[in-house]
Symmetry: C2
Subunit: 197 residues, 2 copies
Amino acid sequence: MARTTDGDGTPVPQRLLAAATRLFAERGYDRTSVQEIVEAAGVTKGALYHYFGSKDDLLHEVYARVLRVQQERLDAFAGADEPIEKRLRGAAADVVVTTIENLDDAMIFFRSMHHLSPEKNKQVRAERRRYHERFRALVEEGQEAGVFSKATPADLVVDYHFGSVHHLSTWYRPDGPLTPQQVADHLADLLLRALRP
Amino acid sequence: MARTTDGDGTPVPQRLLAAATRLFAERGYDRTSVQEIVEAAGVTKGALYHYFGSKDDLLHEVYARVLRVQQERLDAFAGADEPIEKRLRGAAADVVVTTIENLDDAMIFFRSMHHLSPEKNKQVRAERRRYHERFRALVEEGQEAGVFSKATPADLVVDYHFGSVHHLSTWYRPDGPLTPQQVADHLADLLLRALRP
DNA sequence: AGGCCCAGACTAACCGGTCGGTATGTATCT
DNA sequence: AGATACATACCGACCGGTTAGTCTGGGCCT
């Protein structure tokens, strides 16, 4: 057996990250001790600090992963060869589905920002801002084209929608009556309906 | 000088609660030490543990205050003698203004739920649920009356709106271009527009 | 004189991070 | 093909520092 996959087949760094993600979402960053993380991953502190510089680094990795995935998916929808209405709806619904499918990530994302070191916090904010602006551009494009109402500033529209996405981790339960896709359709629908001229 | 108002004119318990609120919002519950709270309030631990049973109690007080104020205000708008559209719009806009005027409370509310003890957490959730249901009743009333679209379940509509309220503490800055009232008008507008039949 | 209010020293638990050391794999040379 | 030399992966004991909460004592008001 190779050392790096001792136990199951998953490499140690990924096991650590997975364990940390679950625990951070479950009890919060500060309430999760490094000892608990390494125990959940089936290794010891030595292994953790071999792969990660600090507990903070572990949290930063969660953010980096989420941001990368979201940016990629948004780009795919925004760049599609479709009318603006469809592109915005697609992107708006997709971010809902993706968020629900990774509720732990969402929980951590909005709850633990202030636990990042100042420079990492700044970096995450910058990346997040780029994402926001990309999304806003879609709204503005529709407004310019006369397809969406200009009654509300595009910035606010984006924050309105992402507020509801943010909120998902608070109320959505996998054992509830609605599937992720159904929730996504409804929320995208609300957005598009609010934007009707 | 009376002992309970040593320093300025504010009673010690309120000074402690105010200091705790500010610090919890600023650095988070876990990152705020009891020592910092008592120093900010100009007293010592003896005073804090004379009035509050635990650090957790202090946090619970913040939640109790927010919930009480919000419930009262919602009741006032919901019970007014106005058409349903006006009542919902009034309530929706008011919660935005109130939230912005107490951004620290909002920050704490959604970020620190999991720091409450299990039974207090349960209590807060129950109270929160009552608030949600009161708000949902307004939406349903409008839907029944045919004034609002039935395309989206009322529950989801409420969560959509409160998502954006929740999100305010993340992006709203008092030195930004929009006044609290302007933001409230826009967000209430988006809600009502989404509900157009 | 007795009770409310509070100061401040103290404690027991815990936490993130470090460090010396070990085991296993790989590259190179003979 | 075997030996030597080094790199990588990981263990687990340990340390300095911090924390929430306790306790004893004293001052001020009624």
